[in-house]
Symmetry: C2
Subunit: 211 residues, 2 copies
């Protein structure tokens, strides 16, 4: 019985990532099984949504006993990570870039920041948080060398589009962008922009609307 493998929505992928994080916590606590309604509370969803999200990961999930935590983590990993550690590049070793580096350098077993890039001679050539920082000119070369498929873009807004173009040119497949710029491309590269200002302005707006 092979998986139907119809495309999975972005939202479902996001929630699977979140479920997995909680599942790992449960695993640490020694919990062996979990019900959809437990997961749903951790995430403000409904049990039905959790069950639907879990459908494409493969049907372990046993009536009346719920899901087996270990197995579920494994199956989600198969789907999200393809059992394959991904090499990531971080472009822009500024304030945000270094914070991210510290945050993401911890014990992640499914991806790893393997190279930094910057155009500031003060920064490239050094090792920051245990990772080598290269000159931005070496981007294409190093991305090939390290087999990097995903990049985190943390350069100033003015440089974001041009840098993204270069990245796309190197054959990279996805970009997580922190610059407050929408990056347009005709290629099929997946671009996710995390727009902090947008999130804050939204919070401010709704701070006035609630009750």
């Amino acid at each position: 019985m092979t998986r139907p493998q119809q495309t999975i929505s972005e939202k479902t992928i996001e929630r699977l990532s979140v479920y997995r994080r909680y599942l790992k916590e449960l695993q640490k606590q020694g919990k062996e099984r979990v019900y959809s309604h437990e997961l749903s509370k951790l995430v403000s969803g409904t049990p039905a949504q959790v069950r639907r999200d879990l459908m494409p990961v493969g049907g372990n999930g046993c009536s009346s006993k719920g899901y087996e935590v270990n197995l579920l983590i494994e199956e989600i990993a198969k789907l999200l990570d393809c059992n394959d550690k991904q090499n990531i590049a971080l472009i822009g070793a500024g304030n945000l870039g270094r914070a991210l580096l510290g945050y993401l350098s911890g014990s992640r077993d499914n991806y790893d920041i393997v190279a930094l890039f910057d155009n500031d001679p003060e920064k490239y050539g050094r090792v920051i948080c245990g990772k080598r920082c290269y000159c931005i000119d070496q981007l294409a070369e190093k991305i090939k060398e390290y087999k990097i498929t995903t990049a985190i873009l943390a350069v100033p807004g003015e440089a974001a589009e041009a840098t993204a173009e270069i990245l796309i040119g190197t054959g990279i497949k996805a970009i997580l962008n922190f610059a407050p710029k929408h990056i347009t491309t005709s290629s099929t590269v997946f671009i996710e922009t995390l727009d902090i200002t947008k999130a804050l302005e939204k919070a401010i707006y709704f701070s006035r609307k609630n009750t």
Copy 2:
């Protein structure tokens, strides 16, 4: 003719924030009018969506001449900011917190981080990036004093839920949360969680799915 003022969706609010940012750039460039199809390109949407988003901001928008940039910025500001500068608190002056502080301390005219809070004696009592850092124990007191309605939460995951509870207790109205924890509450406080790991795992997943 008063605005219908039916509730505006979260997605529309987010896009309005983004439109405004681009409009301000256009303004700087001296552009006076803009068409929905121009805005839509900057954001990968359709012109129809832009027009629909702009409907609740009040109908300036003139056939054949498009929207007047200055006016549109003003109208969006009325909606998003209520012509009112918001005071924001930043909880957790760690790596991310300080990066955010630097980023958000620039020339924002609609909100301002006015106070920091931390539980580390090394940090509170000081002035960081021009803002005073208080001990977390003074949270309630200072939030009242500064009339703060929105908080940015950048404390470690373990402390996030407890800190959010305290925040909610102070009567705050919205929280922008960076900790990788879902914050559950029965109150009507608006909570937006910006989950960076989730975004990265999503990017990694789609890096493999595209073409």
